[in-house]
Symmetry: C2
Subunit: 291 residues, 2 copies
């Protein structure tokens, strides 16, 4: 087995190869003056079992395209098997047709990955596990909850709070890993405006305790801010936010989260981070467990 | 038949529908704050024969993805047939593996278009006609040379000059449409640096005449500038540049072309143009001839 890092592997390629005790190579890539990507596999890979690592954070479409180009080039070089490791899978939130006539975007992405030559797929914590059913091959989910739990050790008597019912399973897993209990909020999102509001709040359980919010993605931060406010209103002593994928899409997302009284922000390296306010956990061990 | 314009149809959708005498609709599209595209087909299309128009100029990967999303959504709505009209086909220059280990990018794009649900494909003047063989369906090439010839009428005794041998067939077609004669240059391009140099120059034929350079793409403008200089050195009276796809990738491409003494720049609307120095010809009639 060898590991090849794509244009957007964000260090996970090296880390994974080290854990697995195999060789790591980087793909040759550039962008032409017109904006088209160029991909070349510069080493001999014939007959190899290849793990190609490419996250698909912003610019998502370019990173997806570069993954497809790598898969095509690898297959043309007659590798024996290709596993695509996609730490952050773009379009995983468009996993249903919420309105008539919508594209099922995740299906398009997964089918393109399959048809371009990936035999297997590993994704870190997609928005819904069911989404991977659109990959017509062997699809596995890497669970980085143990890695996030390690970063949260030492917090006294925490309570894990799912900011919506969709995040409940994740909250339960984190609670179990930390030996803590959990609670959840119910929110509703307007599909047209994207605005989020709270349907039912937290229980008395939060009073005087350290609340750890957990979600799959922090995007605009709206959900975390709403949950933090509700937690403090319910008497929380402090609030910590953790998520697998830290998108932080607006310039002021992190400031807004800090302003809501969130003491720590902990995410993984599926998406690159630049802010000193964000603690980053390596997901590579969770991926290695699936290879 | 109905025509649906994608996020990058650049007016060709309406123009095509008008020529064909059929209804035109625009797809619903937006980009989420994180950079992911959203596509929805807002009208009833069940059982329809749909022509979807989406050019794939910069940002190419986003426009390709949005085309794939439209194709998926249309097929889910049970249309009877989908023809993808891609006026400018991105990645069409990576139609061979120039170096060992390279991705055959055009194959990836065409296979994704096919697998996402396009039964047929119409492309305006791809870099090499053979590239479309990677589309495992009915692929047709729209030839806009008659439209470009119309824009060039009135030039007295012109000579058509292919800036390299690859453009010779195109030059011959334009010469025939204008009842003119033609000549060609031979250039060589360094695959690594991308630098272009002239291997053999123009003949005596150009002396005192209006030279019309014709190519498929103007990208950085290097080829056109080189050919214009060679033409003037060979005694040309004036030089005009025409191409199907005007990418003009650098900020100063058009200035460089003008500075080389090129009097007119004529391209088609497969790519949007903003400069007042560029004359734009509508390719829609050439597409309509293929539908």
């Amino acid at each position: 087995m060898i590991v090849i890092g794509g244009s957007a592997h964000n260090g996970i390629g090296q880390s994974l190869a080290k854990i697995l005790g195999v060789k790591f190579y980087e793909v040759e890539h550039k962008v032409f003056p017109d904006g088209e990507s160029y991909i070349r596999i510069p080493m001999d890979v014939m007959g190899e079992d290849v793990v190609v690592v490419q996250s698909t954070y912003y610019p998502q479409d370019k990173h997806v395209m570069e993954l497809l180009l790598m898969l095509e080039a690898l297959n043309a070089l007659m590798v024996s098997n290709v596993t695509a490791v996609v730490p952050y899978l773009a379009y995983s939130r468009q996993d249903r047709r919420f309105r008539h006539g919508e594209a099922l975007s995740i299906k398009v992405v997964l089918q393109a990955i399959r048809h371009s030559g990936a035999n297997s797929l590993v994704v870190v914590e997609p928005h819904h596990p069911d989404a991977l059913a659109h990959f017509e091959g062997d699809a596995r989910i890497a669970d980085p909850i143990p890695e996030l739990a390690s970063a949260l050790k030492g917090i006294n008597d925490p309570v894990i709070l799912a900011p919506d019912k969709g995040a409940l399973d994740r909250a339960q897993r984190l609670a179990k890993a930390l030996g803590a209990d959990y609670d959840y909020l119910e929110k509703s999102r307007d599909r047209v405006t994207g605005e989020v509001s709270l349907v039912s709040g937290p229980t008395e359980k939060l009073r005087g305790r350290s609340v750890i919010l957990v979600d799959d993605i922090i995007s605009t931060g709206g959900t975390m801010v709403l949950a933090a406010k509700a937690s403090y209103e319910a008497g929380a002593k402090e609030v910590i936010a953790t998520a697998v994928h830290g998108l932080f899409v607006s310039d002021n997302t992190i400031e807004r989260i800090k302003a809501a009284g969130i003491k720590r922000i902990i995410v993984t390296n599926t998406v690159p981070q630049t802010s000193p306010h964000v603690e980053v956990v390596d997901v590579s061990p969770s991926i290695a467990r699936k290879l």
